[in-house]
């Protein structure tokens, strides 16, 4: 059993701060123990060497949020600790989770693959543990495989695809040329894209699978113009989740058309170009701590730990039942630097949130626009709405 177990303690940090505030510390202090479980995914072959391989995605967001919670905690007498557990891909993620459960952890933030999350959800439900999904975007987890004690913080593929489709509808760029990769994740994203296309009246005029297996760096100029010939279209939609070829489509297409999807204009929960609604402060704090920019998993992990903190602060309780009840209630609202309050969908426990559509150097738009009407909240125009979801919790 090879695993890295690192306990991150904020006691010294807290003690120093508390010394200044000793007169303020409430007599009845509460301890909140949280765990961050990472299943180390195998790295895809890099198309480009521009992006460093991250060993701390997600957990950095959780660490920052734990600090934030503890700053609040010094005024309320609440104390948060985060235990970090890394498990190699495919090895004993379940047994490691069971160990956390046995050690009494009731709040677990999970950055694991979809198949693992399904197994953890069942254990969480049986043991009354709250599990926070911060990385799996699979729609299945929000539908037939939803689970009572699992909260989804990261937006689903369907929420992201709907954001793209909404902007395309607004631009009237309704004819799509779809280029998809061949692996399982690409098929899943393609499914979400097709669902959104049908939902918002987009037309797929061409659909092609990219299965060239040579190095795109050498052949992009020759191959892609030929590959993208065919019916006329408004935008080229690419489904290449791992980033094996998508970056080379822009400026190499036969027709002069923009590229959107997993490359080009991309839907994101967070992006380094996002700076509205106080996001600059968040970007700075994160960069100062991690030495790199925040990504979707970091942001989702930050939100997960902040959601726990918010519920504990308001209920003044660490009991799972009370925290969960509060999170799903009307009183719960989380500030996530996106200009609106973030709340949970009661039917599948997905966090409602706007999606950023970004280019490498600019945030193009934040969706949904308020013109997309909904009887409950315009945020529910993204992803599986209550009547569409097959999840009933």
């Amino acid at each position: 059993m090879r695993h890295v177990s690192l306990i991150l303690r904020f006691i010294s940090y807290l003690a120093c701060l508390m010394a200044c505030f000793s007169s303020l510390v409430y007599a009845d202090s509460l301890a909140v123990d949280m765990a961050f479980l990472t299943e180390k995914m195998p790295h895809p072959p890099a198309l480009s060497n521009l992006d460093p391989v991250l060993s701390d995605a997600g957990v950095q967001g959780a660490i920052l949020a734990t600090k934030d919670n503890n700053t609040t905690g010094m005024f309320t007498g609440h104390h948060y600790e985060l235990k970090r557990v890394d498990v190699p891909f495919g090895e004993g993620v379940v047994s490691e989770f069971e160990r956390l459960v046995a050690d009494g952890y009731q709040y677990v933030v999970a950055d694991v693959q979809t198949a693992s999350l399904k197994k953890l959800s069942a254990i969480a439900k049986a043991n009354n543990i709250l599990l926070f999904n911060v990385s799996s975007t699979d729609g299945e987890l929000r539908n037939e495989s939803c689970s009572l004690n699992t909260f989804h913080i990261i937006p689903s593929d369907e929420m992201k695809a709907d954001a793209l489709a909404q902007l395309m509808l607004k631009k009237r760029w309704k004819k799509w040329f779809l280029v998809k990769g061949a692996d399982q994740e690409d098929r899943r994203f393609t499914k979400a894209i097709k669902r959104s296309a049908a939902r918002f009246g987009m037309k797929l005029v061409e659909e092609k699978t990219w299965n060239f297996d040579h190095d795109a760096r050498r052949t992009a100029q020759a191959e892609i113009p030929v590959f993208t010939q065919g019916a006329d279209y408004d935008v080229l939609l690419v489904a290449d989740v791992k980033g094996l070829f998508g970056e080379y489509l822009t400026m190499n297409t036969w027709r002069p058309r923009p590229v959107i999807g997993t490359q080009g204009l991309v839907p994101r929960a967070w992006h380094r170009t996002h700076e509205r609604w106080g996001a600059v402060q968040m970007q700075n704090r994160f960069y100062k701590q991690a030495g790199r920019w925040m990504n979707d998993i970091d942001y989702s992990s930050w939100l997960a730990v902040r959601a726990i903190g918010e519920a504990v602060t308001r209920t003044n309780s660490v009991k799972v039942e009370e925290v969960k009840k509060f999170m799903l209630s009307d009183q719960f609202s989380l500030a996530g630097f996106k200009g609106v309050k973030l709340t949970f969908r009661q039917w599948n426990q997905q966090l409602r949130q706007p999606i950023l559509l970004a280019m490498p150097r600019a945030t193009v738009s934040v969706l949904p626009h308020k013109e997309f009407l909904h009887p409950r909240t315009y945020l529910d125009t993204l992803g599986y709405d209550e009547p569409e979801s097959t999840c009933r919790l």
């Binding site: 934030d68 106080g278 609202s333 989380l334 200009g339 909240t377």
Partner: protein, 336 residues
């Protein structure tokens, strides 16, 4: 005939008190100077990067401007509008207020979870106060006994005692508290919560929330109602609350905590300031790049003036010698 016109003009010029507005333009790195009465943009003066909070010194000889991205507060000569010095504000200064003693300036440092207290005479930081995550609004009671700071991510109001510059109490409020404002009689503190869309009224004597108002506007999504700037009328009856992307200013009756009226202004209304004679209310509208002018007696929007990109803070100078500002408005309650 002409003689009468001249006399008439002279009559008006002595009756109405002229005022000049100084508005920071966050994206232009500049200061817009506007005549309050006519709404005319007089000139634009360059400032440091990302200027936000703005206020006059107590004697009105200087203007302080928080240049957030330069990590400093610039000191401007109020007549020449030239930069004559800097204050050690700490990182990313945004909102600040000046204590009624005219000596201490309180500024929130969003990135460092601190409030810095600056001695305006010696131009040095005399205290750094640890507060919650992302400190934002500052309010100071007119009698100078309390300074409060709101922290956006911790969702609290921190009560600072200026005697020893220590936090003495904390009040939990709704998510993302922004501006705070004491009632003119010092009995209440009002705090806007941007994400919750609410206004809390806190009893200063026990530091507890005594009443809460959730804003509702027909035809406007709840998510878009984001209260930010708050300004108390000296009559101790009305409170004006800027509602951000709801593009409205709410006129609140502070006793009943109900909305008397919503006034439609420019887009993403942010900060507020009165004219010295209390006839006009000015609003900075971040997205529509203008200011709105409101007739305070009639509660009607009379004008909007284009001033530049992302107007943020506003300070008002009474050309007869008095001054007020969004950041440091200190007026006496009107006599009954």
């Amino acid at each position: 005939m002409n003689k009468y016109v001249v006399i008439l003009l002279m009559f008006f010029s002595t009756l109405s008190v002229a005022d000049t507005l100084y508005i920071t333009l966050e994206k232009d790195n500049a200061l817009a100077v506007v005549d309050g009465e006519t709404g005319k943009l007089l000139k634009t003066v360059p400032l440091g990067q990302r200027p936000r909070g703005i206020a006059f010194s107590k004697d009105q000889t200087h203007l302080y401007v928080a240049a957030s991205d330069d990590d400093t507060i610039q000191i401007l000569d109020a007549t020449t509008l030239k930069v004559v010095g800097h204050l050690p504000s700490g990182d990313d200064p945004e909102l600040f207020k000046i204590h009624p003693n005219g000596l201490w300036l309180y500024v929130s440092n969003e990135d460092d979870n601190k409030v810095t207290v600056i001695d305006l005479q010696k131009k040095i930081a005399i205290a750094e106060i640890a507060v919650g995550v992302e400190p934002e609004g500052i309010a100071i009671a007119q009698d100078g006994q309390w300074v409060v700071n709101t922290s956006e991510t911790t969702n609290m109001v921190h009560w600072i005692d200026p005697q020893d510059q220590l936090v003495k109490d904390n009040t939990l409020v709704d998510p993302r508290p922004r501006a705070a404002e004491f009632s003119v009689d010092g009995q209440w503190l009002f705090v806007s919560s941007e994400i919750a869309g609410s206004l809390s009224r806190i009893d200063v004597s026990n530091k507890q929330v005594s009443a809460k108002l959730h804003f509702k506007i027909a035809g406007v999504d709840d998510e878009l109602i984001q209260p930010v700037g708050v300004l108390a009328h000296p009559n101790n009856e009305l409170l004006f609350v800027a509602l951000g992307p709801a593009n409205r200013v709410a006129v609140v009756d502070i006793k009943t905590m109900t909305v008397k009226k919503y006034l439609l202004v420019g887009q993403r209304v942010w900060n507020l300031a009165f004219s010295p004679d209390m006839k006009r209310l000015y609003t900075t509208n971040g997205v529509s790049n203008d200011i709105s002018i409101i007739d305070v007696d009639k509660l009607k929007v009379t004008k909007s003036v284009r001033v530049g990109h992302y107007p943020w803070g506003i300070a008002v100078k009474d050309e007869s010698g008095e001054s007020s500002s969004a950041s440091s408005l200190r007026l006496e309650p009107s006599k009954p």
